[in-house]
Assembly symmetry: C2
Homo-oligomer: 422 residues x 2
């Protein structure tokens, strides 16, 4: 595994007087976030929560008899991939060829490409890599004759010795990619089964595309039921090569994917979940969906407490221009803003090292590129120079704002870091 | 100036068979985007538009007798900073200490820190750098006694020989940072004028915080009028040291800042604009605000055509699962989505190298992390494997999704690249 590059001046949370810090020396620097040892804003992962979440998901998969192939796009952090694989992950999921390239640089051999593989350079990279390394176990999706023709054309041209492993993707009217009807997906599966360049290895769907305010759980179940039916039909028709995969499962409904298939189907298929966000969870959106999951899944509930938020963003109070308004040094450049805005969790007065929890009367109401606007109670003690710890919604769009994040213990001592590759 | 690191596997648009490409060798590779030579999605800057925009803004400043100190946070691309300074920029504007660090690594000597300087490591970096380099010409903002006390404390502790140059920031009720009332800002200016550690060098505001649907232009003018009045009062009171700065001006209203001050004020103050987005403009939001600016500013109108959109995002059609729905390989990881979603500009059929303009009946209706959902007319010729060129709104939140962007001529030949530091 490639060593991550040292932290240097390109990293926005590097302490002022550090010039270049090798990854292996970060812990021995003894930085503490509360002591003001690192430049803010800084992103911090809580080691205890990471460790808990990794073990929680593995235990959930063991209890339900499924595999986890975590979506690496969430973090794009090979140090976390390594821990996910060490915890027992079946492989890693990717969405783009550029992501596969990062995974391959870090020695990941089994990659589920949960996307159509399209584009000259993208296909070229994958086929080169398959030719180069016989141990590279790669799966991608198809959802159209056009996509099949493009892949067959590329494979025929280079006379590849290996067949490309593909899964047919089931979609939903109005949704993202994926074949819309059962008749069409079965016809496509048959076409792949007859291809001399492709091998049909399973069926795939992403239930997160189901949009509905009221009956979302019911509609997710209906969609997954359709996927299971398609899987059975294709299997009965003898379309699959080897033991087929049935894969679905983002970060909100993976319990359905794990628990819906009957035993008979489990004996024939390897069921693969692809959640990415479980490793860090969050403080609002996914925390909410996971709470619902814990209430409905007996297996999840049996594990005791659920996933724990592992990401924190730390920033200074830059200004308190009105009694009920704080401006903090944290913006769209640092935090996700596509689901909800960063949530103030605790405040630390300058000179103190004791975070005090902030109530619901502290709210981020707007985010500019580099500033957060907070509504605060008029009697708030927080002043210019104090620190605020924020939780986030949606880890995917927070990780991509950081080339590195600190890893800290529960006293906010920095015990390491992860590097991201976006 | 530090050489940018070569493009390697960490760069998501690197061609499949390249391993490491030094910046100086990019042009000689003769990649062409339309020919499928680079991995998509890719971000492309049009050289002709960059060049035009740089000259346009310089000419506008000459005509109106003001200086431009471009906000570097937009692009965080030192190759563009270098061109901005070569075109005549007075300095570069920054919003965070981490940004100043990047600028300093690239030899930028005059930096306007359009923010309050708060936080132990942040202050430490700036004061170290001022002590280290007598030519470092640094200005930051204050908007509270608390901020003044923090800076004075830090300067007193280290017995710095230099006084820190500060500007007082005028704000707006309900807005971002900045002193709310004239009485308070004049009192704060007086306090700074009397400080033995600080030097009052001017007044600052950011008129972009004015939020209003109907009378925004009027309210921006009123706000800037207040800033001008405060500047005159402080000058008449003798608070300033040296020739003072009057600075405001984001990317939508810089004409007001350039044109409102009377000649008498111009003779006493250096007027400094801080627009960041002009260098690339965009295809929707800023294009709209600049069109308004061209209609109201005689100086701008006299320059002939206005700013030109320089940023394009290129992606493949991954799927066309319904006649009126295309899924493209472009997502929140690649494009801004905080103002409007990416705008399909043209399509290129596979095997062709001729972009065909797409009409208003092509619209991005949703963006996931790695996918764009497009509504398209049912008779659209675009198919799986074709390319789409997207324009964007808000360059700031697009640049930060790319560690490098290609620079191309009008035939989409790659003639270079820029590297970003976020």
């Amino acid at each position: 595994m490639t060593d991550p590059a040292p932290l240097n001046w390109t990293f926005k949370a590097l302490p002022a007087r550090e010039n270049e810090v090798p990854f292996g020396e970060i812990a021995s620097r003894n930085w503490n976030v509360l002591a003001g040892d690192v430049m803010l804003p800084a992103a911090v992962l809580r080691e205890s929560a990471l460790d808990h979440n990794l073990r929680w998901m593995q235990r959930f998969c063991e209890l339900t008899g499924v595999e986890i192939c975590p979506h690496g796009k969430t973090t794009m952090a090979p140090e976390l991939f390594k821990r996910q694989i060490a915890a027992g992950a079946w492989g890693m999921t990717a969405a783009t060829t550029a992501q596969v390239r990062v995974y391959r640089q870090h020695g990941i051999n089994r990659i589920l490409f949960a996307n159509e593989l399209i584009g000259r350079q993208n296909i070229l990279y994958i086929l080169d890599e398959l030719d180069r390394d016989p141990d590279f176990d790669f799966y991608c999706l198809v959802d159209s004759d056009a996509a099949v023709e493009i892949l067959e054309g590329a494979l025929a041209e280079r006379k590849s010795p290996r067949r490309l492993q593909v899964l047919v993707e089931l979609g939903l009217p109005g949704g993202r990619a994926g074949v819309r009807s059962e008749a069409e997906i079965i016809a496509l599966a048959e076409r792949v089964a007859q291809s001399s360049h492709l091998a049909l290895r399973g069926v795939e769907a992403f239930e997160g595309i189901v949009q509905s305010d009221s009956d979302r759980e019911d509609r997710v179940r209906q969609f997954l039921k359709r996927l299971i039916d398609v899987a059975e039909i294709c299997d009965n028709m003898g379309f699959f090569e080897g033991r087929p995969l049935l894969t679905a499962g983002g970060s909100s409904f993976f319990d359905f994917v794990a628990e819906m298939p009957r035993d008979e189907l489990r004996s024939r298929f390897t069921i693969v979940l692809r959640s990415g966000c479980y490793v860090t969870d969050d403080s609002e959106f996914y925390q909410g969906t996971v709470e619902k999951l814990l209430r409905r899944s007996r297996a999840a509930a049996s594990l005791g407490d659920g996933l724990r938020p592992a990401i924190e963003l730390w920033a200074y109070v830059q200004s308190r221009p009105e009694p009920t308004r704080i401006i903090a040094g944290l913006g769209k450049r640092d935090a996700s803003h596509d689901v909800t805005l960063p949530k103030p969790l605790s405040g630390v007065r300058a000179g103190s090292s004791k975070p005090e929890a902030l109530g619901a009367d502290y709210r981020t109401v707007r985010l500019d590129d580099q500033h957060a606007y907070l509504d605060v109670p008029p009697d708030s003690e927080l002043q210019v120079g104090d620190m605020i710890c924020f939780g986030i919604s949606h880890p995917c769009t927070t990780f991509d704002r950081w080339q590195a994040m600190y890893v800290a213990d529960d006293d906010l001592n920095v015990v390491g870091a992860i590097r991201t590759y976006f």
